[in-house]
Amino acid sequence: MSGFAPSGDPIIPDYGEVSDCVTNNDFFCTDWFVQQWPSVFWPALLDHILMTVIAIVVGFAIAFTAALVAHRRKWLTAPFSMVTTFLYTLPPLALFQLLVPITGLSLLTVEIALVAFTLVLLFRGVLSGLLAVPDDVKRAARGMGLSSQQVLWRVEMPLAMPSIISGLRIATVLTVSIATIAAFVVDAGLGAPILKAISSPFNTQFIGAGALAVLLAFLLDGILALTGRALTPWTKASR
């Protein structure tokens, strides 16, 4: 099989007695899961959150700046778009492996790859939000004497918010998902327990970690959605 997935028995600490659930390798053993929480799942979850947040923050910083620049100089839109789409099309695992010779088996490798994936989604989110601002609003703003900076930050940015949040949400969910593959590079994140248990499949370990990843994705998505709604009170208003 692969050279990366460690083989061996799943580590089932045996405190004297193990429940039937574990011995039978049922679908999900809550007791074992709870037991393993502090030593396996919780640290993995924390690492995963950290990896995701770093990737999104850095990715957003880069994409946001790029979008602002492309908004000013339209001709840059196509090149930026192509580069970021290219990065997005690369299979994550391949990108990880291509980076390893350069940046080693480190968190840096993971983050570079994760950031690369978020770029196109965030770039599009910001730029299309800015482009969707109605022309008459921009004309009125200019005509009233707002400077270009003022028009950008007081008018265009707030109106671009829904699109930006949308991009952030999709990027975050995808990052959580892809970060599981990081386990092939560093022993961190929710992918690690999954990998470790692959050769001797112990269901609870996979399902626990997998379910946590899905729940994390939904949680972060929900937080962003609520933040978005708080930032855009006018979208709720109805006649």
Binding site: D136, A140, R142, G143, G145, L146, V155
Partner: protein, 331 residues
């Protein structure tokens, strides 16, 4: 309100604009003077340069040659952005910021100019009352998406007035409204403009709107040339050339009559001096002469009667008076 005192003239001095890539001028040597407190309408067919003329004033478009002065200062004396903050600007789609409440929309220029928050808020409240959006608390915190087209335009006007600018530019502001709303908003705007007395340049493609709103009207023809600049009365009775006559249309005789009301007719006979078989319709004194004529025709009557304040007929106006306006002795 400080509005009544803060108003300036607008002078176009051979203002010309030629857009790059085109040989013909969009505006060709326009020279008119708008008096302080006056409402001048710019009308004409498309290609006449009326929107260009407007946009030259707040430098959304730059002059190719000539000058425009507000008060005694050329618009090129100060940077464009500063200039725009001293000019009220209202456009057709209102261009209200969807993400700001009504109050915040109105207060945008004052707050950009650095007014304190309480002063901005008070000013916004004052303006909401001026444009008839009362009680103020009901409207202040709404978002533009919660307003009808007419209400949005009123907020747009309040916003243009917010920083108490000496002049106002309006670019077909009522064009997107349905006819009934448009009439209401026109009347309200006339009332506001008379109250605050601000010099206003009003672009419209609708000659009837121009006649109704304008103290004077400037008609621009294709090629950006000024065809005539006069009061509505003068335009309708003495069109300068064939273009103007055609632009005003064959109904200009009737249009002229809409400038007058029954109360403008003096020396009328008493209410029982009616002729013909059909009874003469009784109309309030503020009915326009044109509408009176129209109603007489509808009833097949030879004139109309004028109602007094108590609601009873006090005078009779025969068709000849409706057409001639002045009585025979004064002709």
């Amino acid at each position: 309100m400080t509005d009544a005192k803060n108003t300036s003239t607008i002078v176009f001095d051979r203002a010309t604009k030629i857009y790059p890539g085109s040989d013909a001028p969009a505006l060709d040597g326009l020279s008119i003077e708008v008096r302080a407190g006056e409402l001048v309408c710019l009308v004409g067919p498309s290609g006449g340069g009326k929107t260009t003329a407007l946009q030259l004033v707040n430098r959304l478009v730059d002059l190719t040659s000539g000058d425009i002065r507000i008060g005694d200062r050329s618009i090129t004396d100060i940077p464009a952005i500063e200039l725009r903050r001293t000019i009220g600007y209202a456009i057709q789609q209102s261009g209200l910021f969807p993400h700001m409440t009504v109050i915040d929309n109105i207060g945008i220029v004052p707050s950009v100019l650095g007014w304190e928050k309480t002063r901005v808020r008070d000013r916004a409240h004052e303006l909401l009352e001026l444009v008839g959006l009362t009680p103020v608390p009901e409207w202040a915190d709404r978002y533009p998406s919660q307003l009808s087209g007419g209400q949005q335009q009123r907020v747009g006007i309040a916003r243009a007035l917010a920083a108490d600018p000496p002049v106002m530019l309006m670019d077909e502001p009522f064009g997107a409204l349905d006819p009934i709303t448009r009439t209401t908003v026109q009347d309200e705007f006339l009332h506001v403009q008379r109250t605050v007395g601000k010099t206003t340049l009003f672009v419209t493609h609708d000659i009837d709107e121009a006649i109704k709103m304008g103290d004077r009207i400037a008609i621009l023809k294709p090629g950006g040339l000024l065809a005539q600049f006069d009061t509505p009365e003068k335009l309708l009775t003495e069109p300068a050339d064939d273009f103007v006559a055609e632009f005003l249309g064959q109904e200009r005789g009737l249009k002229r009559l809409s400038l007058y009301t029954l109360s403008d007719l003096d020396d009328l006979a008493s209410a029982d001096a009616t002729t013909g078989r059909a009874p003469w319709p009784a109309l309030p004194a503020d009915t326009t002469v044109r509408n009176a004529l129209s109603l007489a025709a509808a009833h097949g009557a030879e004139g109309v009667r004028v109602l007094g304040e108590d609601g009873s007929p006090i005078a009779a106006a025969p068709l000849s008076r409706l057409v001639h306006l002045q009585s025979e002795e004064s002709v």
